[in-house]
């Protein structure tokens, strides 16, 4: 069987996640889609990879890709794992889609030594501008959906996430802010499109 080489070109946050993850570690990816990130981590970082995904079509593709993914719901799917079963638990671009984000974060830190969370920044200036000028639920490149068909059910900015971590005693060990592939250092909550946090 001919396998295409795995690339991470489409998702800039994957690059940061790839930088963070130590070779040979145990990784669980929640909402792993078709398993692109896990397959890349297996090939390039020799990790032990597991994934959870709710969409059967994506689970199928992930398993066909060779990644051990099971079809299930993130909100309830973590309960079976023992404490600290993984070195990293990844939640990439999915926190805003979970029913109980705080519960998911707590569970991630129970089953993993560290959690990596990436999400689109609702504080980005384009979102603020869209809301200000249209007076309607913002529809931007970052949040391209209509309010009625959006998978996003919780909206959070970079500052919101940092507040949540502070209030719950989650230690932020690394933070990266991106606009496309470029890293943003100035005014991240205004200029960062995607945030990637490493939480311990």
């Amino acid at each position: 069987m001919v396998r295409e080489p795995v690339t991470l070109t489409e998702r800039p946050d994957f690059h940061v996640i790839g930088e963070i993850i130590q070779p040979g570690s145990k990784v669980l990816d929640l909402g792993c889609g078709e398993g692109e990130l896990l397959a890349w981590l297996v090939e390039n970082k020799n990790v032990l990879a597991r994934g959870v995904e709710i969409s059967p079509a994506q689970v199928r593709k992930a398993i066909a890709r060779g990644v051990s993914v099971y079809q299930g719901d993130i909100d309830e799917g973590l309960a079976d794992y023992p404490d600290k079963a993984f070195d990293y638990v990844i939640l990439s671009q999915t926190l805003q889609e979970t029913r109980s984000p705080l519960q998911v974060l707590k569970e991630m830190l129970r089953v993993g030594r560290q959690a990596i969370i990436s999400f689109p920044n609702f504080g980005h200036w384009t979102v603020r501008a869209a809301m200000l000028f249209t007076g309607q639920a913002p529809k931007t490149k970052l949040f391209p959906y209509n309010w009625y068909n959006s998978p996003n059910i919780h909206f959070l900015s970079i500052n919101d996430f940092e507040d949540l971590c502070r209030e719950n005693g989650f230690r932020i060990e690394r933070r990266d802010f991106l606009a496309g592939a470029r890293k943003v250092r100035l005014l991240p909550n205004l200029l960062g499109k995607t945030a990637v946090f490493l939480v311990g």
């Binding site: 199928r60 066909a64 990644v67 051990s68």
Partner: protein
């Protein structure tokens, strides 16, 4: 692809019940070639009424195998890459020792003097065959329904010999509903006067009872939706109902046909013994603690076998929750498990007929397992 039936004989096999069988014969077929490292062997375990003829065209009778759409060159179980083996189960009637075999002590068929056998006994005989062929470790054990039970039993009984297991549409123990359907089948056979307490081998077989048992089985293998699509209320060769008890509906005709056809190829006593083995199946030996089954010695035993578990949404005989129970336990011990609940209308039979997505998954899973095996 023409395949020939093969067979192996062993002096004796010790059974879970404490009884033993001497000698014991096992019928099997193989496809593809065992590589020099002996690392590409896949054992296919068949479902209740299956046999060793899983793929290709039979040299003896010209029939295609029961999983010919999954096994062959370029197929999910790719015989250009893998050496595939399938054997008829212990207690069967397609070449492996079963109740219809001659008891050497009496010179007559065992009939009901055949010892009650279990899924574990079936697997033990397969293990003897795999040792006999000279395979130190199987790349994969795969099967659906009762074949899935055998795949699970392999992973639990001989974990060091199973790199990956693919239990499809199966359970870790038979539920009350599953036992109930099997019991109705057994009662249909035993209520047939031709059954004669199992001693019918020199007379006519209990064809009516066996045929009714098969009809019930067929209903449980389909779904409401697949039956509606296939038959609806269509009448058989008539414009209106006959106001008698002949065949009115297509579905009646189909079930009768399937029942009669089955009588020609299956032994009623094998039906009794094999359904009993399914009903006794409980991977936990009655404790209900599935974690302990996979993790026998201590809490730190590493479970190395990879699992691919598949269920189908419309399967009500082996419902998805039974597969999910296994998945959850494997997750609890941090096992390597992939799971998908595939959408299908075909009911329990989906793993035999609705195979496009199943093939995609199995192919990728086997490929990645072979890659891991090479790296190890």
């Amino acid at each position: 692809m023409i395949v020939e039936a093969k067979s192996a004989q062993f002096d004796t096999i010790a059974l879970e019940s404490g009884a033993s069988l001497s000698p014991v014969e096992v019928a099997y077929e193989t496809w593809g070639h065992l590589n020099a490292e002996r690392s590409n062997a896949i054992l296919i375990t068949h479902a209740f009424t299956g046999d060793a003829h899983a793929a290709g065209i039979s040299h003896e009778n010209g029939r295609p195998g029961w999983w010919d759409n999954m096994i062959g060159p370029g197929k999910a179980f790719d015989t250009d890459r893998y050496f595939v083996i399938c054997s008829n189960v212990l207690g069967g009637c397609q070449g492996t020792t079963g109740p219809g075999s001659i008891n050497p002590a009496t010179g007559r068929p065992y009939a009901m003097s055949f010892p009650v056998i279990t899924i574990r006994d079936m697997v033990r005989l397969q293990k003897m065959l795999i040792d006999h062929i000279g395979i130190p470790m199987l790349l994969c054990v795969a099967g659906g329904s009762m074949g899935g039970m055998q795949a699970l039993e392999w992973a639990v009984s001989y974990p060091e010999m199973v790199r990956c297991a693919i239990p499809l549409v199966t359970t870790w123990r038979h539920s009350a509903q599953q036992i109930a359907f099997n019991e109705v089948g057994r009662q249909a056979i035993m209520a047939d006067p031709d059954w004669c307490g199992g001693d019918y081998y020199d007379k006519k077989p209990p064809a009516r009872g066996l045929s009714v048992a098969r009809m019930i089985g067929h209903i449980t293998y389909m779904s409401d939706e697949s039956m509606r699509e296939k038959f609806g209320r269509k009448l058989r060769d008539k414009e209106k109902v006959g106001f008698d008890f002949g065949v009115d509906f297509e579905v009646e005709s189909y079930l009768r046909y399937r029942g009669n056809q089955f009588v020609g190829r299956f032994d009623a006593n094998s039906y009794l013994y094999i359904t009993k083995a399914e009903d006794y199946f409980d991977l936990t030996n009655g404790t209900g603690r599935l974690v302990d089954a996979f993790q026998k010695d201590d809490a730190f035993t590493k479970v190395d076998t990879r699992f691919l578990i598949i269920s189908f949404t419309s399967d009500w005989l082996y419902p998805s929750y039974q597969s999910q129970e296994i998945v959850r336990v494997l997750r609890r011990i941090n096992g390597d498990v992939a799971y998908c609940d595939l959408q299908s209308n075909y009911g329990h039979d989906a793993f035999l007929v609705d195979i496009a997505e199943q093939s995609e998954i199995v192919r990728g899973f086997l490929d990645s397992t072979a890659r891991i095996a090479r790296a190890a």
